[in-house]
Each structure stands twice: as C-alpha cells, then as structure tokens.
C-alpha cells in the first residue's frame, strides 16, 4: 500500500511537466511577412527522429551577404582546411568549413545567382541551394533541428523546414518542394588557392564573435565513434570517411577518394543517367552528361596549379566547375550532377546507397 502511494505521488508530480515555445519576428532580409507562420505538425520525415540540437532556432546564426577578402589576405586557414567553392563568370568565391562550422548557412549573391551555401558540420555535407523559390528570393536560417544528425534549414519567407541532405522541404507551407541545387566544389585550402589565387574568400569579419579555425565539435570529423545524436551507421566504410555522393530519387551512389587512385576519370551510367567523375587526392567532382556531351572522350590534364581539369577529343579544355575554357565549346558547361561531398555514414542514412566498386 505504501509503495502504491509513493508511485501514485510520483506519477502525479511527473504529470505536471510541460513545454512551450513561441516566436516573435522582426524585420528580416528575405522575409516580407512579420507574422510568425503557424506551426505545422505535418512532416514528411518521422517526427520522432527530428531532434532539437540544443542551440535553438537561429542559435547558430546563418550569414547573409557576408564580407569577403582576397586569397592573399587570408591567414586563418591551414593548407588542409576544407573550403566549398562556387563560380559565376569571373566571380569565384570560397566558403571555408572553418567559418561554416559556426554558421552552417551563408546566404549570398553572385551576380544573378542567389545561393544558400548550406553546410552541416555533423554530416560534413556542403550543398548549394537556389534561394529563388516560387519566384521569390528568400534567405535560409538554421532551425536548430536535426534529422539523422543532419542540418534542417528553414526558409524565412514561409518558415518551412527543409532537410539538407534530402534537398527538400519536410515541414511547413512548402512541404514537398525540392531545392534547386547549385553546384559547389569542395577541396582543401592549399588546392583552392593554387587553382583560384584571384578568388574571394569568406572573411572572418562576419559580425559575430566566434573562434574561427577551432572546430566547435572537437575531433568529431575524424573520430568514427563520436556522434552527438543517434543516427544509422553503415559498416561498409569508416563512418567519417569523406565520400562523393550522386543522388537520384531515393537512391545514391558513393565514390571514395581511393577510387581515383589508378584512374582520375570514371565514366558511369547510374539509374539511366550518364556521369563523368573526376578525382584526385584533393577533390572529387562529378557532372551529368547529356546530348552530345555523352560522345566526348575525356583525358585528365590537371597539373595541380591550373583550374583546367580535363581535355576532350574535340580539343576542349574544361575546368573544375565543368566550364569549357578553351576549344570549340568555350563557354559551355558540362551538366550539373545532383551530388555533394559528405561523411560516409550520412549517405546511407538518407538514401539506399550503392558503393562504387562494390
């Protein structure tokens, strides 16, 4: 009887627990409406696997049109630090992981390109999204939520939540909307500054006080056993090994750096699409070939100091962004592939993943 009384008391006490949350919105770039969007309870991913990461909504502040500095003025990067790169005409920019670790999203404009460079430090995935959605430009912020330990950005125009690796809205007004991908390349700082010595690099003068260059997650990037949240693991490769993933629907194919040891070029047909993958110890890039491009034969000509990457049988020379720099197709681009770099574990956590070479 006494035990029942105690248990009943504890139950009564526990039943008092509750939570609540609210939002007040002020004027923000990319957000016309200052009324908080109604909270949507409908998710296209299992809600029980969506977790609060801890810092809260905008606790990790995304950057909007930040400052850049020329390569020669950058002193906060080590040669082995990774950067994400983008090119639009002569405008070439690098977004170092060292800053993205602390901000996760950079909303930027390069000429006519309105891009959100999204980066999740917990999955190592860097993906570019077009910020023009349904004809309106938005900015993305960090929701503070995670799915399979991966970043969930939110767009400030509708407050819809998006899965970074799934590249689609998973909650809110834009539920089901796919992100329009913008190609990024990932390489180390030493390679980047050799390839693009005249490029612009994200400045540490972000307006936020952070210890850029010191990872907020310790040895997370290299410790295969360290995870901050539960997520599926796949034993085929070390969890934190960096791979290049090509995604197609619910499927993906992953490529390792070691796949490019004997040959820097891989021609693939995956899910009925033709791909050209080019890799070396410093980067892996991929392009989807269509039309006449599928008939081209490519030869690896990269010398480590020039942006030139491959030459084809027509005499065209193509750079790392898939742009023909010389030859009869000068100015043309190889097709973008739906692809990104990331830690191995994160690909099979989201996609049915085939590993190149078995």
């Amino acid at each position: 009887m006494k035990n029942i009384f105690i248990l009943a008391s504890i139950f009564l006490l526990q039943s008092c627990s509750s939570s609540s949350s609210s939002e007040e919105l002020g004027p923000v770039q990319g957000q016309d409406n200052n009324d908080p969007a109604p909270v949507s309870l409908e998710w296209s991913i299992p809600i029980s696997e969506v977790l609060d990461g801890g810092p809260g909504k905008d606790g990790i502040p995304a950057l909007v049109n930040p400052k850049f500095s020329p390569v020669e003025n950058i002193s906060y990067l080590r040669d082995t630090d990774l950067v994400l790169g983008i090119k639009n005409g002569d405008d070439v920019r690098a977004y170092p992981h060292a800053i993205l670790d602390w901000h996760e999203i950079v909303n930027d404009n390069l000429g006519d390109i309105s891009v959100a460079v999204t980066y999740c430090p917990l999955t190592g995935t860097g993906i570019g999204w077009n910020r023009i959605i349904k004809s309106s430009e938005t900015t993305f912020g960090v929701s503070g939520l995670l799915y399979n330990t991966n970043l969930i950005p939110y767009d400030r125009a509708t407050a819809s939540n998006w899965s970074q690796i799934l590249n689609e809205s998973v909650n809110g007004e834009l539920l089901g909307e796919k992100a329009d991908l913008i190609s990024l390349i990932e390489t180390d700082w030493k390679t980047w500054k050799s390839l693009f010595p005249n490029s612009q690099v994200l400045s540490i003068n972000t307006g936020f006080s952070r210890t850029y260059g010191i990872s907020p997650y310790g040895d997370y990037n290299t410790n295969n056993d360290r995870f901050l949240f539960p997520t599926p693991k796949d034993p085929r490769l070390p969890s934190k090994e960096r791979v290049h993933a090509i995604v197609d629907g619910v499927d993906a194919k992953a490529y390792r750096f070691s796949d490019f040891t004997s040959n820097n070029i891989i021609r693939e047909t995956y899910k009925g699409r033709n791909y050209l993958l080019i890799g070396n110890p410093n980067f892996i890039v991929s392009f989807e070939l269509a039309g006449e491009q599928t008939t081209l034969d490519f030869e690896y000509i990269h010398n480590g100091t020039s942006e030139l990457l491959v030459k084809d049988n027509e005499g065209n020379e193509w750079n790392i962004f898939g742009e023909a720099i010389t030859g009869p197709r000068t100015g043309q681009f190889l097709g973008d592939s739906a692809s990104f770099m990331g830690m191995w574990f994160s690909i099979p956590a989201f996609y049915t993943t085939e590993l190149y070479g078995g």
């Binding site: 006490l13 949350s21 909270v39 309870l41 810092p55 606790g59 901050l228």
Partner: protein
Amino acid sequence: MRTLFVLLIISILAFQGFAQTCCSGGVPLSNNLGLPNEGKGVISLGLNYDYNNLNTLNAGTTKLDDSSRQRITNSVLYVMGYAFTDKLAVESLLTWVNQSRTISQFGNQSFTETSGIGDGVILLKYSMPEVLGNGTALNLGVGTKLPLGKSDIITEQGIQLTADLQPGSGAWDGLGWASVSKGLNFRPSATVSGSFTYRLTGVNNSYLNNSATYEFGDEIQINLGYTDQFLMFNTIFNPGVVFKYRKALEDKIDNQGIPNTGGEWIFIRPELAIQLTPNIAINSRFELPVYSYVEGTQLTPTFRVSTGISYLLNTKNELLIK
C-alpha cells in the same frame, strides 16, 4: 518513522500545489545540500527559490561578444531534514524546475521553455562534533539523486528537447558530501566552513525515445565560507561570503564524450541570513562568477540569485507539550 514518512508525502503533495501556480527551479542540487544537524528529533524545513541566468558565451576562458542566447533556470527547492540522533540525520530535496531558452537574433526572438518536477535528493548524514578540535564539526554524507523529473518532454510540434532542457536527468546519481566548520577563537561570532560534494552521475538509458544513452558529467563542488553574526533591531543577522569551486566533466552520449560540455568555475557568493524567530530564518544569496572555463564554446553562468525560508520543528518538544 511512520510519522516522518507521512510528513514527507504530505510535503510532496503540498509542494505540488505550490508548483502549479509558480515558476521555479534549475536544479542547483549541490548548492542546497547540507542542513546542519539541529539535534535529535528536530525537523528542518526549507523552501528556496533560485534564479540562474546564463547569458555569457565563452570559448574556454574567453568571453565572446555575443549575448543573443539566454538560458534561465528558475528553481523551487523544498528541503526537509530530520535528525534521528544528535549525529545521524537524513535530508531530502525536492525540486520544481522551469527552464527557458531565448534566442534573440536578426530581430527575431525564439523562446522555448519546459517546466516540471525536477530530480530529488536523499542524503544520509553523520555528524562528528569536535573530532577535528575544539569548536569544530565534521559532517559526512552519502546519498542519491532520484530521477523524479521527466527527461523526455517534447515541444508542441512533437520534437523532443535535449537533455539539458529537460527538468529531470532520467538517471540515478550517487552523492558524496562532507562539510567541516570551525568557530574562530578570536571572534566567537564568526565561523569558517568548507564543504565538498561529489556527484557520480548515472546513465539515462532511455534517452531520445530509447535510441541512446545519456550521462551528464560527474560534478565536484567545493565551498569555502566565512560567516559572522551580529544583532540589530533585536534580530540576529548572519552575513557571509562563500567561494565556490565547481568542476563538471563532459557529458556523454552512448558513452562518447560530447564536445562543448563540462568546465570549471569559481564563484563568489555574498549571502545574508536573518533569524526572524528561534525557529524561522530567511536567507538570500547572490552568486557571481569570478572565473569561468568551459570546454569548447558554451553559455556560462552570468549570475544567480536565490532566497529562501527555513523552519525548525522540534517534534520531541511538541510531544512533551501534548
């Protein structure tokens, strides 16, 4: 013993009624342990309110220029002690916790809070007066932290919050406690004291819908204090100052350390207790960090304020009266 048990349960229920109408508690468990043994048969009751404000973002010992994140913990702590003998006593601590997280960024404000019963503590204490010399008292205690609080609260949207926003830890902890005090010969009204608390944390095996285990870092706390006494308006005042050292080890998920958890702090805490009657005293404390070292980058305490009232009930005397 049965009387004590019934009193404890009544106290819990009374506390519940209070909690529903008032915000409270941040689980400063170690701060609120260590009632003195007031003698055989004496019941000590205490009700404390604690406000803990974390609005300072540190990287190691460096304060970052960023006040966009704020964590506030309101706690109500109900302490009850009973002395079986002049040396052996038991002490219990029940808490009600309200924790909030406010992000003020880009002109927006995002607010999340949880409220509920927090974890409790039971501590068995043994006093050894004069064992370290004339005018000294040495107290030793062992106890446990009971996982009374919920550790799986979800938001209205259905999203489970992280461990440090939950009212409870979901784990049983072991507690070791020791305190020593000595009256000063050259100033009989003054006492110097010290206390040591070690919290050996347990593991929450049902974290995040049973998908992981979570363990808060072990915690050490050392207090060194000086208290004096003076009479004013026919009332006894006890001003004091305490230096508190606290070290917390890193938290673990699935037995792997979590970056940006754990650290070391030194606080200074002026405090004042006023003896309103022989049985009733009120107290207030203000705690400021003088040294903060956090692992990685973390919010760290900015200040803490607490106040409370305590009441001594001598059951033996009452029985005699009856």
